[in-house]
């Protein structure tokens, strides 16, 4: 069976700067993959390049074995749901209306039923009519997560879904995405919290300066060597209270700057 999403040797340039320098990874159905890396390492660009949202200079991106650019818009939407990092909503629509936009191909009544269910799952049952611009940032983030769930796509890509959320909402977000993977979806997320990444993801892809520095199970991808060279941390993943957490401090000897 072909991978839900496979990216190979992506090269993307932002202005003169090389944002991606031959990065790639694959994700299969039922897997949750975390894309990690310091700020500016190319996480968002990798997702956007792999979805055909930015122009690639080289490399291949395929959804279910088919080149991304060759898939018609309607069909592509059936294959992938995307939650961008930018959480700006331009107009004050009701939260149910926003979530229903995740399923524009369905009859409105069906889409609204699905939307109500997704809102309930993110803990916003009873907030259907609330305008998204009247909500707190955290509530709005959950509404947008619900919209992602409403796409019911076999590949869910979420850029920083846990950023700016309180601990409870972070865990809820990752648990919901984990549940989607358990139901057979391929899930790809970016995040900065290495502990959460190690805890929730089957596999981690670590980016450094536009290249893949490590790709493997959490313990392997976040080895002390990678923690030091990519993140500038001295430490390791340890077991505490039945959960994997990161115990680390800023490295005294900084890794040599790459550029």
């Amino acid at each position: 069976m072909s991978a839900a999403w496979s990216l190979e040797g992506l090269v993307v340039r932002h202005g003169g700067r090389l944002a991606l320098d031959g990065a790639g990874f694959t994700v299969s159905a039922g897997q949750m993959v975390g894309v990690l890396g310091p700020n500016g390492s190319g996480k968002t660009t990798l997702l956007r390049g792999g979805l055909g949202l930015v122009r690639r200079e080289a490399g291949a991106a395929a959804l279910s074995g088919r080149p991304v650019e060759s898939i018609p818009a309607t069909e592509r939407a059936r294959l992938v749901g995307y939650l961008p990092q930018e959480r700006r909503v331009s107009w004050n629509l009701g939260s149910l209306d926003i979530v229903a936009l995740g399923a524009p191909d369905l009859p409105p009544a069906v889409a609204r039923d699905i939307a109500a269910d997704c809102l309930h799952r993110v803990g916003l049952g009873g907030f259907e009519e609330r305008g998204v611009l009247e909500m707190s940032g955290g509530e709005r983030a959950r509404v947008l997560l619900a919209r992602l769930l409403a796409t019911r796509a076999p590949l869910l890509v979420a850029d920083e879904p846990a950023a700016g959320l309180d601990p409870d909402a972070q865990l809820l977000t990752l648990e919901l995405l984990r549940a989607e993977a358990a139901r057979g979806a391929a899930v790809v997320i970016t995040l900065h919290d290495l502990s959460l990444a190690a805890r929730f993801c089957d596999r981690l892809v670590v980016l450094s300066q536009g290249r893949v520095a490590a790709d493997g199970p959490p313990a392997e991808a976040l080895s002390p060597g990678i923690l030091h060279s990519v993140f500038g941390l001295d430490g390791a993943l340890v077991e505490a209270g039945g959960e994997t957490v990161l115990a680390a401090r800023r490295a005294v000897q900084r890794p040599a700057p790459g550029r």
């Binding site: 956007r48 979805l51 949202l53 818009a73 309607t74 592509r76 939407a77 059936r78 992938v80 749901g81 995307y82 939650l83 961008p84 930018e86 700006r88 909503v89 331009s90 107009w91 004050n92 629509l93 009701g94 209306d97 926003i98 936009l101 524009p104 191909d105 305008g131 947008l144 919209r147």
Partner: protein, 328 residues
């Protein structure tokens, strides 16, 4: 107030405004005259009502609807509550077309100014559609629109500058101030055709405008044919703006204010503000034209002057109230 009730209210208001605009005018008529007009359209009162006032009121309603719809579409597309039909430079280009026709002495040919203005609008509209396909960010599109507007304005100034006759400038200026006076039924038809095409394009793009609420990237992966929907929204808005400027000169504030007036009951969803904005624009312009006709001034007030005079303070009030609700 629900959206449905708001739509019904606007429709009733529009009907009432048109009826009043047909019944009231400079020439005082008695009850008996109205009866004559109804029974014998060819009579003098009949002529006043059916060939002078009625087409004028209908034209005001059509232009107002076109401006309201164009403004609502552009505010949705550009995700900017300050967008109006002039923002993409279509109005200024239509003005340039009209100015050129007048300077070249074509004013005597019936329909020449209007046709030239429409050509100006279509050229600018085509340019804007091409630019919108290339540049997705609303900010870029707005800046390019401002450039087109400024350049068309500069070319218009050049026309006046090089024109040997001072009368040209006065004529162009007078045309630009906007008016629906002395319009007949045939004029209505030539405006209605491009406006209807523009309205159809904008109506088709409504789903895309709603989806754009979530930003370009989400919309691009939403499954909607966004490239075509965006082109339809830009092209439709340009056609509507162009048709109205060609028919009635530059009339400000209606396209800006109408969407703001209706959001209170129609909600913020850009796809759902389209129809109410068109109706509100029509009501506003019929009333503005009525004011232009009945306010006793030596020279009849120009429509663009009336909408700006009443529209600017009204719009400030709307903006103030909106800002207050944002703060709370």
């Amino acid at each position: 107030m629900t959206r449905r009730r708001g739509l019904v209210l606007l429709a009733v208001l529009l009907l009432a405004a048109v009826v009043v605009a047909v019944l009231v005018g400079e020439t005082p008529l008695r009850a008996a005259d109205y009866l004559t007009a109804l029974t014998r359209p060819g009579s003098a009162p009949g002529e006043i009502l059916w060939t002078i006032r009625a087409p004028r009121a209908a034209m005001a309603a059509l232009i107002g609807a076109a401006l309201g719809l164009s403004g609502a579409a552009l505010q949705g597309l550009l995700r900017n509550p300050l967008a109006d039909p002039g923002v993409l430079g279509v109005s200024a280009s239509a003005g340039l077309g009209a100015g050129l026709a007048i300077a070249l002495g074509l004013a005597a040919i019936p329909g020449a100014i209007e046709a030239s203005a429409l050509v100006g609008a279509l050229v600018a509209g085509a340019l804007v559609v091409a630019l919108a396909a290339r540049f997705r960010e609303p900010e870029t599109l707005i800046l390019l629109g401002v450039s087109i507007s400024a350049f068309a304005g500069a070319l218009s100034s050049l026309v006046y500058n090089l024109s040997p006759s001072p009368v040209t400038t006065a004529e162009v200026l007078s045309w630009m101030l906007g008016s629906v006076a002395n319009r007949g039924w045939p004029d209505l038809l030539t405006t209605a055709i491009p406006a209807a095409l523009g309205a159809a394009l904008v109506a088709w793009s409504a789903r895309g405008l709603t989806m754009l609420t979530l930003g370009e990237e989400t919309a691009a992966l939403s499954g909607l044919p966004m490239a075509r929907l965006r082109a339809a929204a830009v092209g439709g808005a340009a056609l509507l703006a162009g048709a109205s400027v060609a028919a009635a000169g530059i009339i400000g504030f209606v396209g800006l204010a109408a969407p703001h007036l209706v959001r209170r009951f129609s909600g913020d969803d850009p796809g759902k503000t389209l129809l109410p904005s068109a109706l509100a624009g029509a009501v506003l312009l019929v009333l503005a034209d009525l004011a232009a006709r009945v306010i006793p001034t030596e020279q009849e007030l120009k429509l663009g002057v009336v909408t700006a005079l009443f529209g600017a303070p009204l719009f400030a009030l709307v903006a103030w109230r909106a800002a207050r609700s944002w703060r709370s």
